[in-house]
Amino acid sequence: MEHIRTTKVEQVKLLDRFSTGNKSLTGTLYLTATHLLFIDSHQKETWILHHHIASVEKLALTTSGCPLVIQCKNFRIVHFIVPRERDCHDIYNSLLQLSKQAKYEDLYAFSYNPKQNDSERLQGWQLIDLAEEYKRMGVPNSHWQLSDANREYKICETYPRELYVPRIASKPIIVGSSKFRSKGRFPVLCYYHEEKEAAICRCSQPLSGFSARCLEDEHLLQAISKANPVNRYMYVVDTRPKLNAMANRAAGKGYENEDNYSNIRFQFVGIENIHVMRSSLQKLLEVNGTRGLSVNDFYSGLESSGWLRHIKAVMDAAIFLAKAIMVENASVLVHCSDGWDRTSQVCSLGSLLLDSYYRTIKGFMVLIEKDWISFGHKFSERCGHLDGDPKEVSPVFTQFLECVWHLTEQFPQAFEFNEAFLLQIHEHIHSCQFGNFLGNCQKEREDLKLKEKTYSLWPFLLDDQKKFLNPLYSSKSQRFTVLEPNTVSFNFKFWRNMYHQFDRTLHPRQSIFNIIMNMNEQNKQLEKDIQDLESKIKQCKNKQSDGVLTKELLHSVHPESPILKTSLCLKEQTLLPVNDALRTIEGSNPADNRYSDYTEEFSKSEPGVVSLEYGVARMTC
């Protein structure tokens, strides 16, 4: 609390980001220990978590006050005008302090209290059990076993304790291999395809330099390919562009030399590094934030940001994995440099294509927990949870979610969850409200005692799962129905609901999704009612044979109505009140849209030539 200098400022204006008419709402701004709160004159509340704040900017003083622009990690942008400069300055300074914490212990998760007791909290953490997940995949088995090599994090600090490796790979081989891999991240199992007996494995780049070899590493790769009884060769996928991988050789790192490893097929897939991705997103956001954006500027900005090109690259790599397993029955080893960014993207997306379990709500949680959290994707650094090196921040996980969204668009029936689920997860990787995404690896999380001090996000999402269900989901599909997305460029679209989630006016005013969802619910309810009624009728009929009058019987079904006919009407009325409410018609307000800014022009008296700001259009009167 010591950072908060002013807790309340009145007469603050909130500007509409997408209106040129400088429309605004006036209200009161409150600063709490965890949130920034704005309550407008209609009592509508806008809550902004301090941890969501990516940047705060104080613009030059204007006649109406001092502008304060806050950009959030969930792509919300708010533009306040604070009447007094001193207040603005105070808020600015407080937010700067509050949004950048130096210690994990100061993050929201450590103070967040959803009123659960210790055993409930522990249960929450046990919801996702990775040992259970490996069992589901079919390991351990005759080819794969659990290794205790990393039980004390001795071999690799950024891996989980429990790792699955080929049964024939001995401990010395593992230790030897780990010394030949960047950060000790030696090849381990990440997904096992039971039907094809093929595996997706992951690791970091080898320390091969220009000529170094490591027999243990070569053995371990051989062991992986031998663990696949069907196919003798395996793919080694380096997810980096070839040039980057070659540059790494000069630093004593690099990639596998095909001549040294028997039976491998080496492949680059060319996904760019975290720095390229960060600046790509930056460019994308700059373009979208432009007021009065023209269609052409939008598309040329989308192109020059390269964002969709990167998304396609990740998707193509995942498809490569799925094809290697499905078509060639070959195992795949994936790595990038350290094996925690691009490798996580490609492995998890590949598994998602292969295994329909990961397309369920629970399965998707497991997937994130396994490929991202446990294998040491550096969430805290990539999301900038703490005040740290801005060069470590990168939207790697966001890209993964976007790839999944593109898949849900191409396969509207293949996923149990909907877009809201993806957005909610994205919200929480930055919120620091739950412990799951804090820290950069499992060891760090254990040191922080997150399971004792914070809560897990997943049970809360499961409790809310109604909101996240896809009404079109068809669950009949087999476990191994493989998605084969088409990655022609046409299929990649700008994800408006992610990058403009809070810009209400840009979205469709009516949601197909909600209405179908409600109809589905209603159908279920009605069917249940029919069943109830039928069973009651059955009961009645039984009684009838005992000599009771039908009329009275029906009364017992609908005690409130005297005769059958009215009772039915009543029934319909009481049953279907939702009917009207559910199809609420949302009209829209022209004032929400840009063309509405002509309103002022309409009412002006005979100006000569009015050229509107931002070149929207020009009117001569």
């Binding site: 997408f18 954006l293 023209s294 269609v295 052409n296 500027d297 939008f298 598309y299 989308l302 192109e303 969709l308 191409q410 396969f411 509207p412 029936q413 079109l472 068809s474 088409n486 022609v488 460029s489 046409f490 299929n491 990649f492 700008f494 006016t505 840009l506 979205h507 469709p508 005013r509 009516q510 949601s511 197909i512 179908i516 589905n520 209603q522 159908n523 009605l526 029919i530 009624l533 039928e534 059958l564 039915l568 029934k571 049953l575 279907l576 018609i585 009209g587 829209s588 022209p590 929400d592 849209n593 840009r594 063309y595 509405s596 309409f602 259009a617 020009r618 009117m619 001569t620 009167c621």
Partner: protein
């Protein structure tokens, strides 16, 4: 002229490759006066395959060895490939198709020969929208009357026989105003917005010329419009040209309303792309959509370069401006460009769709198309002579109507519950506007349709659509009447490429179709469960 003179071959063996997702079809190929037929060989039990020759936009032939390949690019953007046995046969078939697909005569076109089962000639031609629509206007206000001053099309060849005009203006004054407007298109009513008591009018440009001529009757007419609306009503003239283009038009005898001559009216210029530039935009977009191999960057830059979505945005926002003037400002709106037969209709029809819930129903929309496009004299025959594939130098082609359909699709995407019709109807209208067995989109105006006796000698598309077995494809299962105006967002982030049209033949549509099937299933289930309740208890 006999078709047989143009048909240079009997038949040939051929294999048809209909598209990336469909299996090839082998059989005997045959050219008739209006169709290309492929009757599948004995092993196959597939139905006869039929293509209306009129829908061929461009044809490309290649011969190699003793066989040839013909690539047909159709007006509905489909690309078909025919592998034909025999070089001579290939060349003959190609020449026949070329000759027959470019016939210009209207009365020998297929609609004059098409006699489908179950339809009667003359059905659904009873849509007489001006009269029909006038009944609705008359219920709402008595400031307007139906004039038959154009009964013999002498006043304005591109208007229908009957038009709705201010009650206070007599037919003589209309005639004078017509002489002052290009092509005789004097201001007429196209929509009365009952909630605000204001009206939407359209016309062509006034013929002020370099001398800035005036016409008292034309001025009276517009004055009467304001007087008929409500006391103190104001008016806006939305000119779909830039201020400069409007000024330049004076040199060629056209021009725009002088401020002093029309008190109460204010002019707004919203330039919309038209003519050749619009056609080029369409051609470039379709080109870009035809190349699935291109990189992401190339695709985005071509999408930008073709400017199609920019045109969508401009059309929608101009329509919104007009609609807003009526709904919010209580003002009367007159829309015109130069001829008033293209972008003018785009704006007036979209504005109605935004404001008028009735025009968002299936019949209301058909009526809107009939009234605001067909009867209003959009020159369909000229504009839709060729689609995006033709190598011929464009003369009068312009995809104005397609742009309208695209804008409607955008509205439907932003208000998925508010249109009673679905994408299927829009696709059907696109197809039929360019090539159709029905007579609805034939000719350039009512006058020409009368001369060709289109109404008595061809079938109406509307009755064809209403008899279609698969009504489901035309409907929106989620429709519910929305009594409010629907204001779309015109930000570039909110507009999307209409994949269902531009990528219809290149992308596998299955998943989205399956999803819609599921939506239908949920909707019908709901109707069933609701309906079955009483029976369950009886």
């Amino acid at each position: 002229m006999e078709f047989s003179e143009l048909i240079r071959t009997g038949r040939a063996q051929a294999e048809l490759l209909p598209g990336p997702e469909e299996p090839p079809l082998r059989g005997t190929l045959c050219v008739t006066g209006h169709h290309l037929l492929l009757s599948p060989g004995p092993p196959s039990t597939a139905d006869l395959w039929l293509l209306l020759l009129r829908s061929v936009d461009s044809i490309e032939k290649r011969v190699a060895g003793d066989s040839g390949t013909i690539t047909l690019r159709c007006k509905d953007l489909r690309v078909l490939q025919l592998d034909i046995e025999g070089v001579e046969a290939t060349l003959d078939i190609a020449r026949s198709i070329e000759a027959l697909s470019s016939l210009e005569s209207v009365i020998t076109s297929f609609p004059f020969f098409y006699r489908p089962k179950g339809l009667r000639l003359g059905d659904a031609w009873h849509f007489h929208p001006p009269e029909c629509y006038y009944k609705r206007v008359a219920r709402e206000t008595n400031a307007w009357r139906l004039s038959e001053v154009n009964q013999d099309f002498s006043l304005c060849p591109s208007y229908p026989r009957a038009v709705i005009v201010p009650r206070a203006v007599d037919d003589d004054a209309l005639a004078r105003s017509a002489r002052f407007r290009q092509g005789g298109r004097f201001p007429v009513l196209c929509y009365h917005h009952a909630p605000s008591g204001t009206v939407l009018l359209r016309s062509s440009q006034p013929l002020t010329g370099p001398q800035k001529r005036r016409c008292a009757e034309d001025e009276d007419l517009l004055r009467a419009v304001l007087a008929g609306a409500h006391p103190g009503a104001r008016g806006f003239i939305v000119d779909t040209r830039s201020a400069q283009a409007a000024k330049q038009a004076r040199m060629t005898g056209g021009g725009t309303e002088a401020k002093a001559a029309y008190p109460g009216w204010k002019r707004l210029h919203r330039p919309l792309e038209r003519g050749r530039a619009l056609q080029e935009s369409f051609v470039r977009l379709v080109e870009a959509c035809g190349d699935p191999e291109q990189s992401m960057d190339r695709w985005l830059s071509r999408l930008e370069g073709c400017r199609w979505l920019a045109h969508v945005k401009e059309a929608l926002s101009t329509a919104c401006l007009a609609a807003q003037g009526m709904e919010r400002e209580g003002a009367c709106i007159l829309v015109h460009g130069a001829e008033g037969r293209d972008s003018t209709l785009l704006v007036t029809s979209l504005a109605q769709l935004i404001l008028d819930p009735l025009s968002r129903t299936i019949t209301g929309f058909q009526e809107l198309v009939e009234r605001e496009w067909i009867q209003a004299g959009h020159p369909f025959q000229l504009r839709c002579a060729h689609s995006a594939f033709s190598h011929a130098r464009p003369k009068h082609e312009a995809p104005t109507f397609l742009l309208f359909l695209d804008c409607v699709w955008q509205l439907g995407r932003q208000f998925p519950l508010s249109l009673e019709f679905g994408e299927g109807l829009l696709l059907a209208l696109f197809e039929h506007a360019y090539a159709s067995p029905f007579g609805t989109f034939l000719c350039n105006s009512e006058k020409e349709r009368c001369l060709c006796e289109v109404r008595t000698r061809t079938h109406s598309l509307w009755s064809g659509l209403n008899h279609l077995k698969e009504q489901r494809k035309l409907r929106n299962p989620l429709y519910v009447l929305n009594p409010l105006a629907i204001w779309p967002s015109v930000e570039p982030q909110s507009l999307r490429l209409w994949q269902g049209l531009f990528l219809r033949w290149t992308r596998p549509p299955e998943s989205s179709e399956v999803a819609w099937e599921k939506v239908w299933q949920i909707v019908t289930e709901r109707e069933k469960t609701e309906g079955s309740q009483p029976t369950a208890s009886t």
